[in-house]
Amino acid sequence: MSKLMRGVSRKEFLKLGGAGLAGAALLGVAGCGGGAQGNKKVVRYFTGTSETTALERVAQEIQVDRFEKQYPKYDMQREAIPPDDVRTVIKTRLQSDNPPDVFSYDTGPGFGGVLADAGLLYPLEKAYKQKGWDIYEWAKQRATYNGKVYGVPDQVEEIVVYYNKDLFDKLGFNEPKTVDELRKIADEFKGRGKIPLAFGDKEQWEAGHLFSMGVSNVLGRKGMDDIFYGNGRWDTPEVTKTINLLFRDFVKGGYYPNGANAINYNDANTLFYSGKAAMLPTGTWLVSEIVQTVRDFEVGFFPFPSIDGSGISPPAGVGTGLFVAADAKDKEGAITFIDYLLQDDTARLVMEKFNTIPAHPVDTRGLKVPGLFKQVLTDLSQSSQDRDFGYNIDVLTPQNFNEVMYSGFQDVINGNRSAREQAHALQAAWAKAKKAGHVLTQG
């Protein structure tokens, strides 16, 4: 009979337990070896994956290889997961014993703001001063919570309507300036068997972007500021009219693909890339993918046109930002990495490779970028005297509001909720967020 079968004496039991504990302790020591590998200091960077695998490779080159080459004392460990998943895991990652040193995350009060309130972010005011980071003041405000700067906005975005220039030229259409003109164009395309606007709302945030374009136009920058920072309301006739236009009239008019609520963002983009759809409402973050994917026709873009004589205020603002974890093992390394990304030569490289716009002044002379991206740069560089930019709403609003916005617009599209009901629901969610202190503060 084997010893184990015979039984385990108390002494043996204690021995086994002791050996187990010692083993676990050794493993723990080995696993928690701190932030140094050899002579190099480890910097952990946590971010969302890029749109395409080609861009992901470029990200690895710029954010890891080039950084390590310039700063040989650091070992950059970049971890990228699908962007939507970052929102789910970031809280637990920051609360773990091994948090990322630096990470990319949404800057709004419902995102970075929540982390700052929980004491999970390291304030960057000192770093801003020491390194002389020249982030646009309005962008810096997006990463400022309770009067302290916690993040470095890294990308400026605009939401526009891309269009198939070849198709437009073939039918003799110009970029529409009013919704009536847009309707005429859409009707014509529909009659010719094309999908006028490649809009899918399966992930729900897509409707938030469409709404941002419409409501920014009808309310203008001032009206939007009044809601965000003053006593403006969402349940006004202007907002209701916009919801009705975008999510009832356009649906009834057949301007979107059938079953838009069941079509995801990538499928909607594919409809445009394949020439099945004439226009694509989305953000300038897609420029790089469009340039890489679309080979058969030329692509242009226009801001969403005027609604019943309103102004045109395309939503623009900060996308994500870079944050340093409060419990980062190497805060200096994290700040060095952010500083590296903000350097002029790195920023130019990022612009050329990713076709994204940094949130700080960059010398754009001699940049080798595609025509579509040049157009975006020109559009965004227009001074506020020429045009007021609106807001991409969901990055500025708390999650309870976004939830009502997202699920509510799906209901409006389906006809389960009226535009008026949705406007009231938005206002109720906004009032709740305001009462809880979860909304933006100015200055």
């Binding site: 385990v8 079953g259 069941a262 799906q410 599209i413 389906n414």
Partner: protein
């Protein structure tokens, strides 16, 4: 001869034995009427039970108790502070229209999602058991969807239902039923049922295989006797076969029933609870509330609701079943 461990009759012609003292039984031993254990055996028992018990305590009991505690707080999921709010989260549930909608969807899921795979599985198992040719092949084919992760099932069925490229709409168009073609997952009237169909497809194979195994133990002499008495196929199944596999049928039904209240993955992948909240179930709403809207306290209360519903429904079903027997 009667005897106890403490008082023994002296064997004839033998020497007197030292009385063996009665071993004390511990609380559990007394409660469960277990025999007293030798010290060595006790260490053995502890040695084998402890690892599993620690894992169970760490990953089941502690999180469960912690969730109960969190459900009485307004914790946002990240802050250090957790304010006690008493029953406020539970009271809020009753006024939350989305909870009622999700609960109703769960009821639909439990009813259709439990009955359908069990009936389909039972019928197919009986057919295969009756000696259909290629029984092994069919059994394998039926079981295949069950080994796929539900996330994969969800993605595959998303493509089948796709409003523009999906085979379902194309098939409907091809047979002249264009009017029925739609965005199955984007239409509030069909979204939940479309997901349910995918879930049933993924589940019934499990029921077939388990019931087929149970059918191997059916007493054939009773079946043959029923045949001689003139019972038809349905009568034999109803009165002879099903009663004999009733325990397994109960087990399978209970598993699918409990799963009905905690269903999450396939709904989350296919519709995310949308459009609007038309396919929202309690688990998807709990996830959104706790992890996306930073209301971990309320989310914990919702998860307690799911636990209570699963537990109560399973107990009620098993009791009813036992009473019938």
């Amino acid at each position: 001869m009667r005897g106890t461990t403490s008082t023994r009759t002296r064997p004839k012609g033998g020497t007197a034995q030292t009385p063996v003292p009665r071993r004390k039984r511990g609380f559990l031993g007394r409660a469960l009427d277990l025999p007293a254990l030798h010290r060595q055996q006790r260490y053995n028992a502890i040695f084998f039970i402890l690892p599993g018990l620690l894992v169970y305590l760490a990953f089941m009991v502690y999180p469960f108790l912690d969730t109960i505690y969190l459900s009485f707080t307004n914790w946002n999921g990240v802050a250090d502070t957790k304010h006690w709010v008493g029953l406020a989260n539970y009271a809020r549930m009753f006024g939350d229209g989305t909870v009622l909608k999700a609960f109703w969807n769960n009821v639909i899921w439990v009813v259709i999602g439990t009955i359908s795979p069990v009936i389909i599985g039972l019928l197919l198992a009986l057919l295969l058991w009756s000696g259909v040719r290629g029984s092994l092949l069919f059994r394998t084919i039926y079981f295949l969807p069950f080994i796929l992760p539900l996330v994969v099932v969800g993605i595959v069925w998303q493509w089948i239902y796709h409003p523009l490229f999906g085979v379902l709409n194309k098939a409907l168009n091809a047979v002249g039923l264009k009017g029925l073609a739609r965005g199955w997952l984007g239409d509030p009237h069909t979204a939940l049922y479309a997901v349910l169909a995918a879930a049933i497809w993924a589940t019934f194979g499990f029921v077939v295989v388990v019931l087929l195994a149970a059918l191997q133990n059916v007493d054939m002499s009773l079946v043959e006797a029923a045949m001689i008495d003139g019972a038809n196929w349905f009568q034999r199944a109803r009165h002879i076969v099903i009663p004999q596999i009733a325990p397994v049928l109960t087990m399978v039904t209970t598993i699918t029933l409990i799963g009905g209240f905690s269903v999450f993955d396939i709904v989350f992948v296919m519709t995310g609870g949308g459009p609007g909240h038309s396919s929202e179930v309690l688990a998807t709403y709990t996830y959104k509330t706790a992890f996306q809207q930073n209301e971990a306290g309320y989310g914990s209360a919702l998860s307690m609701l799911i636990t209570a519903l699963s537990f109560v429904s399973a107990v009620v079903f098993v009791r009813l079943r036992e009473r019938q027997r």
